[in-house]
């Protein structure tokens, strides 16, 4: 479970104090996906960074599974927008990286890695370097890395945004299948309403200036491929888009 209480983040820019996040409170229940969505610049990524322990200058509280945040003890899977692959490491080394850092590589993990690579279609790409792969393939490597780690929580910062529409939908399905097996508590930042509706059991809508949680919605249809083709899905996504637009307009 991820608990964020009264989180506030401010930064100094050209002698001006900017408030990125103010009074953000959000609870992501154990084994669920929370999709965070909102207008550009509302602080979605800042919120994710604070939860990932990448920001130190904030007030408020971030608790993971009931404990104070401690990256040494926790296993946090973090997927940045650009996939976070190291260009100097082969696909195989990139997949092993998180495990190597957390507890060192052991042969016991080889079986799980092979299985993941088979599921993700990476078996024949292990000796390649990330720059030799397509965007979709890089995304698969990044997914293999975080799921091999078996993290306590998974944080994804617009993970599918750099992909074309077809590959994006394909990758959403790949993620959904992996997630259903692992059931990892996940916070997913996205600017695609359809992605939020498809993947998030909970949708946290953020407003901007200063960034805060405006509304949290439950989404009982999460993960249903059938729902994606219904009129209701379309109506719901339009509603959400209107809300985000209104928030963006208010910001200006």
């Amino acid at each position: 479970m991820i608990e964020v209480k009264n989180l506030a983040v401010a930064y100094q820019r050209l002698q001006q104090r900017n408030i990125a996040l103010q009074d953000v409170s959000l609870t992501v229940p154990q084994g669920t996906v929370c999709a965070v969505i909102g207008p550009s610049g509302c602080g979605k990524s800042t919120l994710l960074k604070a939860v990932a322990g990448l920001l130190h200058d904030y007030s408020g509280q971030v608790r993971i599974n009931g404990h104070e945040f401690n990256p040494q003890k926790l296993r946090i899977g973090f997927m940045p927008q650009n996939y976070g692959l190291l260009p100097w490491q082969t696909v195989e080394d990139n997949i092993k990286l998180a495990c190597r850092i957390k507890d060192g590589w052991s042969e016991a993990k080889s079986g799980k890695m092979q299985e993941l690579c088979r599921k993700l279609g990476l078996e024949n790409l292990l000796a390649r370097y990330p720059q030799e792969l397509s965007g979709g393939q890089q995304q698969r490597v990044s997914l293999a890395r975080v799921f091999l780690l078996e993290p306590d929580i998974l944080l994804m910062d617009e993970p599918f945004s750099a992909l074309d529409a077809i590959t994006r939908e394909e990758m959403q399905d790949v993620f959904r299948d992996l997630w259903e097996e692992a059931g990892i508590t996940t916070m997913l930042v996205t600017h695609y309403v359809e992605e939020a509706l498809y993947l998030g059991q909970q949708i946290a809508l953020m407003s901007a200036n200063p960034g805060t949680i405006a509304e949290v919605m439950e989404n009982k249809w999460q993960g249903s491929r059938e729902w994606k083709t219904t009129t209701e899905f379309f109506v719901k996504s339009q509603e959400l888009k209107e809300k985000i637009k209104a928030m963006g307009a208010r910001k200006r």
Binding site: L54, I76, F78, N82, G84, W88, L97, I101, E132
Partner: protein, 249 residues
């Protein structure tokens, strides 16, 4: 294998081009100061083992020692300055103040302090090369996008892991380029420092031949210096190919 053949052909063509240029200059000038290349290579064959090899070995040792010393000091310093902003804030002014000083101007002081033997020559190469390594590494680290560190930081990785998985590989191309630039500088500096206080080294050999108006031997020395450079650059290229495989893709 095919790649290697192409590379070898390029090197051979380059050499052939230079030799043709040299031959053309010699034919045009018709003076002993520019002898024909075939005469120089003939002389080189005659005197290499007995006369030149020992001078080449001395020069090679001084270059390698000077560069190694510069790496030992410059590598950690560059990493610290690049990774820790606070350290850079205090160390950068020191580097900026001392980097532009022509180190050759310090040679008299260096000779008084370290003597006219090996040490002053090695320290001189070190002084010139170390700054290039420091600046290349620092800038290399600064060029790493912040997002590269995120997956490691979120896992609670310490400096050792960041150093191993990010800093070393990310700066390797910059580091090798710095060594490459430094190598050329080192050879030039070496030539100057070997003109006094020693009876060994390619600098001494070339100057000695020149003073004896033995142009053929002088040219054999120049050829050896050039081949020494080719050897060192070639080794660096091989090293880069092995260590930075990801860059070649």
């Amino acid at each position: 294998m095919k790649k290697r053949k192409v590379l070898l052909r390029a090197y051979l063509l380059g050499m052939l081009f230079l030799l043709l240029l040299w031959q053309a200059a010699a034919s045009l000038v018709q003076l002993p100061i520019i002898p024909e290349p075939c005469l120089v290579f003939e002389r080189l064959g005659e005197i290499f083992v007995d006369k030149i090899a020992v001078h080449a070995a001395y020069s090679l040792w001084r270059i390698v020692a000077g560069i190694l010393l510069a790496v030992l000091v410059g590598y950690p310093l560059g990493i610290i300055m690049g990774y820790f902003r606070k350290a850079d804030r205090y160390l950068a002014p020191l580097v900026y103040l001392t980097y532009p000083v022509p180190k050759i101007a310090l040679l008299p002081i260096l000779m008084l302090l370290a003597g006219i033997g090996e040490l002053s020559k090695i320290i001189m190469i070190f002084l010139i090369v170390v700054f290039q390594i420091v600046v290349a590494l620092r800038d290399g680290i600064r060029g790493i996008p912040a997002e590269t560190y995120y997956p490691l930081y979120s896992l609670g990785a310490g400096f050792r892991q960041v150093f191993r998985h990010i800093l070393v590989p990310a700066t390797l191309p910059n580091f090798i380029t710095a060594i490459r630039v430094a190598m050329a500088t080192a050879v030039s500096v070496l030539f100057f420092t070997e003109t006094f206080g020693t009876q060994y080294g390619m600098g001494y050999f070339i100057m000695d031949a020149w003073l004896r108006v033995n142009y053929l031997e002088m040219y054999t020395g120049i050829v050896i210096l050039s081949l020494l450079g080719l050897l060192l650059f070639g080794l660096l290229d091989i090293l880069e190919g092995r260590l930075c495989r990801w860059q070649m893709k």
